[in-house]
């Protein structure tokens, strides 16, 4: 599990790569927060394109970042959630808190 962080202007993009579970969540959270603290962005994007698995630990991670971005007045966007990841997210009601862009997966799951 890895996270690649890109900072462009006031936008911090965190690209998750691998499998996000309880074991992986702590270090990923730390890295994203470090970048938010250092860069004070107005928009944080968490990109799930290269994430192959996520359980409810990922929900904790996203909710935590939602609180953090709110505190500094920034917006949080979630992008490229696969059907499995979107299914976990939908259960948490996360789509009411953050903008979720399902990217290329969208048509695949709309039945």
């Amino acid at each position: 599990m890895a996270v690649n962080i890109d900072v462009t202007g006031e936008v911090v993009t965190a690209r998750l790569d691998g499998e996000l579970d309880h074991h992986a969540a702590a270090s990923i959270r730390e890295e994203i927060d470090k970048s938010i603290d250092a860069n004070r962005p107005t928009l944080v994007i968490i990109d799930f394109r290269d994430l192959t698995f996520m359980d409810s630990s990922g929900i904790g991670l996203v909710m935590g970042r939602y609180k953090k971005t709110r505190e500094i007045g920034a917006e949080l966007h979630i992008t490229n959630t696969s059907p499995q990841i979107y299914k976990v997210m939908r259960l948490s009601g996360l789509e009411r808190l953050a903008v979720i862009d399902r990217g290329g997966y969208k048509n695949e799951t709309d039945k």
């Binding site: 499998e19 579970d21 309880h22 074991h23 969540a25 959270r29 698995f53 996520m54 359980d55 409810s56 630990s57 929900i59 904790g60 991670l61 909710m63 935590g64 059907p83 499995q84 299914k87 976990v88 259960l91 948490s92």
Partner: protein
């Protein structure tokens, strides 16, 4: 009802074993040729159950998590995840979405995910004795286009 196949996996409650547990269960079930969605549902539910053992049951120590996977006639799968940990004081409360006793960033959605991703979720717990979670899923019958 007697299973037609069964595997037992005992592992220590190290968080690095979460990935192994869900992949091991998924590998065993692969013999039924499940859909990708079914395999993902099972992996997610197992990940939640094993994480509960690590975060809650054995929060104070490293101990054994006992997983049994049983395959029955007609593509029925039963996965039992058992621990000898602290037990759950109020199972009904623990199963409420968003309820958690763990600090940090636990979402409190473990049982909600297990319940909605599997067909049946059964939780038995005794304080000081441990918890048994039984996850049941009926795999679909599908006709394969390419053998």
């Amino acid at each position: 009802m007697k299973p037609i196949n069964e595997v037992k996996i005992n592992l220590l409650s190290c968080s690095s074993n979460e990935a192994f547990a869900r992949v091991a269960v998924a590998s065993f079930i692969a013999q039924l040729d499940p859909t990708i969605e079914e395999i993902n549902d099972i992996k997610t539910a197992v990940s939640e159950a094993v994480t509960n053992c690590i975060v809650h049951a054995y929060s104070e120590r490293i101990d054994t998590v006992y997983i049994t996977v049983r395959i029955f006639e007609n593509r029925l799968v039963k996965i039992t995840v058992r621990d000898r940990g602290c037990g759950i004081e109020d199972v009904k409360k623990a199963m409420e979405p968003l309820y958690t006793t763990a600090g940090g960033e636990r979402a409190g959605l473990g049982f909600a995910v297990m319940g909605s991703f599997m067909d049946k979720l059964n939780v038995r717990s005794k304080l000081g004795k441990g918890t048994t979670v039984i996850l049941t899923k009926q795999l679909s019958y599908r006709t394969r286009a390419n053998g």
